[in-house]
């Protein structure tokens, strides 16, 4: 992990950059997301969006933490971006304008955690099915709740 990259990212974005498992971690406010990711992409060469996911910190406020991972094919560097959003309005900006691969990953994150991505026009279920109620990876989703599509046969 080269320290200069962490410092350069920090000074460009104007935030403090931590390091976790050798990876720079940028915690930013929801409103700054698009600008910050644009800087990462254009100044630092993070040309690949690896993953969009979320963490449900049940009991904390704000409850959800949306996480993006970026990779630079040129420098082989990686960076993690985190944004906290509240349960009452779990909305962050979509990155589909910057990364085409964000579209499907945001669909998955949306159905699993209920986080909405403003600007993603197609947030239909991708792994789950139409009619599924709730968001199964939220910590308060009942573990053994079943939502079968066809009735069970009489045993």
């Amino acid at each position: 992990m080269d320290a200069p990259l962490v410092e350069r990212i920090g000074s460009s974005l104007g935030v403090e950059v931590g390091v976790s498992h050798g990876m720079p971690v940028v915690q930013i406010a929801p409103g700054q997301l698009l600008d910050a990711v644009r800087v990462l992409r254009e100044q630092f060469g993070f040309d690949m969006l690896l993953d969009v996911t979320a963490v449900d910190w049940l009991g904390q406020e704000p409850r959800f933490e949306v996480v993006w991972h970026f990779f630079s094919a040129g420098t082989q560097a990686r960076v993690r971006v985190k944004v906290r959003v509240p349960e009452s309005e779990p909305v962050v900006a979509s990155l589909t304008s910057l990364y085409g691969s964000a579209a499907f990953m945001e669909r998955e994150c949306h159905e699993m955690y209920g986080v909405r991505f403003a600007g993603n026009a197609d947030l239909r279920p991708i792994l789950l099915y139409e009619g599924f109620v709730g968001h199964p990876l939220r910590k308060d989703y009942p573990k053994e709740r079943e939502q079968p599509l066809i009735p069970y046969r009489d045993a």
Partner: protein, 173 residues
């Protein structure tokens, strides 16, 4: 140097040796004997058990020895539905439709612990055993089951078929 193989004369007119002219049996035993050695499986393979299915159906273990090797890739030509792997709630309607498309007589084998009971997947996605949507004749648990277990399951199914009442025509026969 060649030696002539002894043959069993099925129809030896004028022969001096005892012949195999007729035998008596029950209709159900005869049909069951024929059916248990001509099982045409439909592999409904969804998960990692498929690797074990390949192992058991090809050389070394070879389900062809039990007449159950030739997979049919349409349910309409098959009579054994082998459900190999995890079935999710999203897939359950597909499995049910496949089962309904099979002609009678038909049997179902749950291959692996996921098909049997859901296995260690007890969550929002996985059906807790295929017997919730289709009737199952033989369960072969294991994660994945050893080929010997599958062969044992097929042999148990053969015993079950041999002992069944086989309706061929409606009515007396």
């Amino acid at each position: 140097m060649t030696t002539a193989r002894p043959t069993i004369p099925i129809r030896a007119e004028g022969a001096k040796v005892p012949t195999f002219d007729y035998f008596t049996t029950k209709k159900d035993e005869l049909v069951g004997w024929a059916r248990k050695f001509s099982i045409f499986p439909y592999p409904f393979v969804t998960a990692c058990c498929g690797m074990e299915f390949m192992s058991v159906s090809s050389t070394i273990y070879d389900t062809d020895r039990f007449g159950a090797a030739l997979p049919r890739f349409t349910p309409r030509q098959s009579d054994l539905l082998m459900v190999v792997g995890t079935i999710t709630h999203k897939q359950a309607p597909v499995l049910r439709r496949i089962y309904e498309q099979m002609c009678e007589p038909k049997w179902v084998l749950a291959f692996g612990v996921c098909a049997t009971s859901g296995g260690f997947y007890n969550n929002y996605a996985v059906l807790q055993g295929i017997d919730k949507i289709v009737p199952v004749d033989v369960y072969v648990p294991g994660c994945p089951p050893r080929p010997e277990m599958v062969i044992d399951g097929i042999m148990q199914l053969q015993d079950k078929i041999a002992g069944q009442h086989h309706v061929i025509l409606k009515g007396e026969f």
